[in-house]
C-alpha cells in the first residue's frame, strides 16, 4: 500500500474552512484515496473516498489533482465537534482495503 504523509496537527477556529493535505507520491493506478475520522475514545469512521478530481458528501469534500500524488480533505465551516484525528489511506478497493493501513493522521483542534 502507498505510504502517505500528512501534517501531524492543525489548529482552526469555529466557522473556518479547514484543508488537510495528504501526500501519496507512490500511489498506484488502481489505488483509491480514503479518509477516516477518529474522535477521542472512539474507533475510526469512514468519511469520504475518491479516485480523481472532486468528491463531495454531507461531511466533506475531497480534491484530487490530475497526478493523484496528493489529495486534500476540505471541511467547510468547522465546529468544535470536528476536533478529531483525520487519517488518509491509500489502497486498491479490490485488494488493498482488507486491512487498512493507518498512518499517524492529522490531529485537528477546533477552538471557539
Amino acid at each position: 500500500l502507498a505510504k502517505t504523509t500528512q501534517p501531524i496537527s492543525m489548529d482552526s477556529y469555529e466557522g473556518q474552512e479547514v484543508n488537510i493535505t495528504c501526500s501519496h507520491n507512490n500511489i498506484a493506478t488502481n489505488d483509491y484515496i480514503t479518509w477516516y475520522q477518529q474522535f477521542p475514545s472512539q474507533g475510526p469512521r469512514f468519511i469520504i473516498q475518491g479516485y480523481k478530481t472532486k468528491v463531495t458528501n454531507e461531511v466533506a469534500s475531497l480534491f484530487i489533482p490530475a497526478d493523484r500524488k496528493s489529495s486534500t480533505l476540505s471541511l467547510p465551516r468547522v465546529s468544535l465537534s470536528d476536533t478529531a484525528v483525520y487519517y488518509c489511506l491509500v489502497g486498491a478497493t479490490n485488494t488493498g482495503f482488507q486491512k487498512l493501513v493507518f498512518g499517524t493522521g492529522t490531529r485537528l483542534l477546533v477552538s471557539p
Binding site: S41, Q49, T95, F97, K99, F102
Partner: protein, 114 residues
C-alpha cells in the same frame, strides 16, 4: 441498527494474566477485523475473519494472541499470558463486503497490563 460493540471498554490486568476481548459486529457483516494501537503508535491491523475463517492473520504479533469467531458471529481475542507491551487500545471493525473500503469500527477496548 446497532453498530459494532466491544466488551469490555476497559480492562486492567497484571502481567502474566489472561484477558479475553469480545467484539460483536454489525448484524449481517461477514467480515470482521481486529486492530490495535499500542503506546502512541499507529493503529495496526491484526487479523481478518470472513465468517468463521481467518482470511489474514499476518498482523498477529505472536502466539500469545488467539482470535476466534465461532459460528461466524461475534469474535473473541484472547491474550495469554499478557505482557506489558500488550497495553493499548484494541479495535474491532466489520464490513459487509470482503473488498470494502468502508469498515465500521467499534469504540475499542483499552487494555492496561501492569
Amino acid at each position: 441498527e446497532a453498530g459494532v460493540t466491544q466488551f469490555p471498554s476497559h480492562s486492567v490486568i497484571e502481567k502474566g494474566q489472561t484477558v479475553t476481548l469480545r467484539c460483536d459486529p454489525i448484524s449481517g457483516h461477514d467480515n470482521l477485523y481486529w486492530y490495535r494501537r499500542v503506546m502512541g503508535k499507529e493503529i495496526k491491523f491484526l487479523l481478518h475473519f470472513v465468517k468463521e475463517s481467518k482470511q489474514d492473520e499476518s498482523g498477529m504479533p505472536n502466539n500469545r494472541f488467539l482470535a476466534e469467531r465461532t459460528g461466524g458471529t461475534y469474535s473473541t481475542l484472547k491474550v495469554q499470558p499478557a505482557e506489558l507491551e500488550d497495553s493499548g487500545v484494541y479495535f474491532c471493525a466489520s464490513s459487509q463486503e470482503q473488498y470494502s473500503d468502508t469498515q465500521y469500527f467499534g469504540p475499542g477496548t483499552r487494555l492496561t497490563v501492569l
